[in-house]
Symmetry: C2
Subunit: 446 residues, 2 copies
């Protein structure tokens, strides 16, 4: 993408309404625009990151054997009356009547609807196990929406639901979700720690939240510092291998890590003092096992091998897709702007032309641009007639992890400069070498 043809409305000033760094940088980098309290437009740069995050979530869910579908944003109130939640849910639920006076709502979550889909189409244990998920806009009418996309009202969530014959099967689904979430967050460059959680209004017997450590987090967290060293890495997971999946879960949940809701001072004190940490965390996902809560009330039953009818065992599992942008920025920025991890960056690399209009420099930039596109790595090329300083400031603010700087002197010497946004370190090399290096870096993120 050539910046001269793009829509990247960066702001020079810090917007007054933004209290936390991710909100400030998302506004300044032209990623979002508020349209009403807690309701945002995703401007082109923000939309690209949102898509990258969705893509990673989809890939890891499909890898775990889960099946994507898409439920609508609006739901009939009657479904929620069946589960008893229509009255139980507070004013966070946006309710209204359609032109025929039918009661509707904007879905804050989809347990009822997915159970409705299941009961309409599945009646035999032979069709189990089954895990369905979608990524769809939700609405929760927060009293005080704030922190940009971190606590919006209209937000994008991945929510998945498992249907199993036995509790043992459902707990395997729970474990599958935990492992797939660990991989999902790692691919986004995040350390998200699974912490035992409170079941809350959704109801559940077993539940973990995934928290990203950040000083602006809404939850107080207590943990053994060794938990932040755990990495799933590139290990090969067979999601059908119950023992392997359970072992990974055990590895990631044995060390102490809890939010204030489930904190146990006694257990915490047992951690060696130098590893005992108190901090704050941003919740970016949660997994629940809740058994037959919805299947019983809504009649989602299957016929078993012996002919009996049993309600299915269920769980629901969510990732806060739009809020992840905020969480990633909170975890990865400096005083110049965002530092995108390679997995989610809107463009893999930026090209800065130091002397737009100089034939040799323009042509060197165009060649690098084309070479990157040919490798499937679309760069953002700053081809504007601007000072170098302004171009660098924009690149630093929007946070592309790599920058190729091309100037007339370098071009004469057959050199460009490759700069890491994270370390600030630059290296001179030929244009071909820079393109090859970028391709090599991103090969690990495909």
């Amino acid at each position: 993408m050539r910046l001269s043809r793009y829509f990247l409305p960066v702001l020079k000033e810090n917007p007054a309404e933004a209290q936390i760094v991710s909100h400030r940088y998302m506004l300044r980098a032209g990623m979002i625009k508020q349209q009403a309290a807690g309701i945002y437009s995703w401007l082109p740069l923000g939309f690209r990151v949102l898509n990258r995050i969705q893509q990673i979530v989809h890939e890891e869910q499909v890898r775990a054997g889960h099946i994507p579908l898409l439920m609508p944003t609006l739901q009939p109130a009657d479904l929620w009356r069946e589960s008893g939640r229509y009255d139980a849910y507070g004013p966070e639920m946006l309710r209204f009547k359609d032109r025929h006076d039918r009661e509707m709502l904007y879905g804050p979550t989809n347990e009822e609807m997915i159970t409705d889909i299941f009961r309409a189409h599945v009646s035999s244990y032979k069709d189990l196990p089954l895990t369905l998920y979608h990524i769809q806009w939700k609405f929760r009418d927060e009293t005080r929406p704030r922190f940009g996309v971190m606590r919006g009202r209209e937000f994008l969530m991945k929510d998945g639901y498992n249907f199993d014959l036995t509790k043992e099967d459902a707990l395997h689904a729970y474990n599958r979700h935990m492992v797939s979430y660990l991989r999902t967050y790692e691919r986004m460059g995040l350390t998200a720690i699974p912490m035992r959680a409170d079941s809350g209004p959704i109801g559940g017997d077993d539940t973990h939240e995934f928290l990203v450590l950040a000083s602006t987090g809404e939850s107080e967290v207590f943990y053994d510092s060794a938990v932040t060293d755990l990495k799933l890495g590139q290990r090969d997971i067979d999601y059908d291998d119950r023992a392997q999946v359970a072992d990974v879960c055990k590895e990631f949940t044995t060390l102490y890590a809890r939010t204030d809701e489930t904190h146990d001072a006694g257990l915490f004190e047992a951690i060696p003092e130098e590893r005992r940490k108190v901090g704050r965390g941003i919740e970016v996902g949660q997994i629940f096992y809740f058994g037959t809560k919805y299947s019983e009330s809504m009649g989602a039953v299957v016929v078993t091998a012996d002919g009996s009818r049993v309600p299915v065992e269920m769980g629901s599992h969510g990732i806060g897709v739009s809020r992840l942008l905020g969480a990633i920025i909170e975890a990865s920025h400096d005083d110049k702007g965002i530092i995108w991890p390679e997995g989610v960056t809107p463009f893999p690399v930026g090209i800065v032309n130091l002397k737009q209009g100089d034939a040799a420099t323009d042509s060197a930039c165009a060649a690098i641009y084309k070479a990157l596109i040919d490798k499937g790595l679309e760069p953002l090329y700053d081809d504007r007639d601007e000072r170098a300083g302004a171009k660098f400031a924009t690149m630093d603010l929007i946070g592309l992890p790599w920058r190729i700087t091309v100037g007339p002197r370098g071009v004469a010497a057959g050199k460009v400069e490759l700069t890491s946004r994270r370390t600030g370190e630059s290296e001179e090399m030929s244009a071909e070498a820079a393109v090859a290096r970028i391709a090599e870096i991103y090969a690990a993120h495909r």
Copy 2:
């Protein structure tokens, strides 16, 4: 995808509520489930096609130089008061109040919001031309939703908006949209004819609708039969070349083709009688040039080269993404089921195992499955323990354009059968040849 692990709830019976073939087949093929009048869940198979269609729309918009973003589903009423449409819009607009009693609506279209984004960030003619678009769920509270996704209430639409300095520039944007739409529909296997249209409540000076001929269409259409022979094909379009783009538009709009709203009996009678056709059509898109209608009322002005301030010239351009599934099926089916064009098929090919459990046959199927996946062509493999007839019926119903049939006798002779869903013709060949043929067929659709 192995069918034994998929969620494909096909129905044996014709659903009573479906009046037209696309609605009937989408329900029978397990593509959608109604959740409320005109509100659907997209089950896994339907979701795959919806994604393919979105993908094609995105690719062709980006090719035309248009920039994707994403606006929210909900909008504040105040924006619509500025344009005067809050009161002008009828009961199709879903209106409600949030918990703080602020008036909101579920967006039926986005002229106001995109104009708001533009005026907040663009103030110079140097930032023009600019065309922004999104693909987002809309809501129109139809009195009588019907025909499945063809006239739903919650529907997915691509809507794009151009901002230009002069009327001439805006008409080039109009033409760019026309050409990009022609390519979009052709890639989906559709013949969509641009027809001069009435501007309707949105207001506009120049507008065309794109209609797909189908006996179930909502509009009566009058056209010169020669118009259906026009094809854009693989010709290379430079979207910056105004003359070339205008010539394509002229080529596709010179022959008579109008809906009943703009029909001119005199002009129609001038067509040679044998080419004079009356039929019905499904509207799958519309382009509008409307000048300064919104920019004037909402203050979207830019400073020109001579320092004066002028309202920008605009247009809006839509594609009915979710309704396209219905239109494609109306245009491409037989009495056994859907016949997907290669461009939008949910899976490029199906594999039917005639003797599940037979070691040699299972292993031949697994090898074909893997070979296709390695080529990036994920097949749907019917690995269920079912009769051949039931497997064929399912494949015919869901309409994958190609089927590879693998049985023990063929495997012994080193042969599989490759069958075209469209012609019903089969050909025997080696498994390797079948995989190569499929790869060759789809190379043209990437």
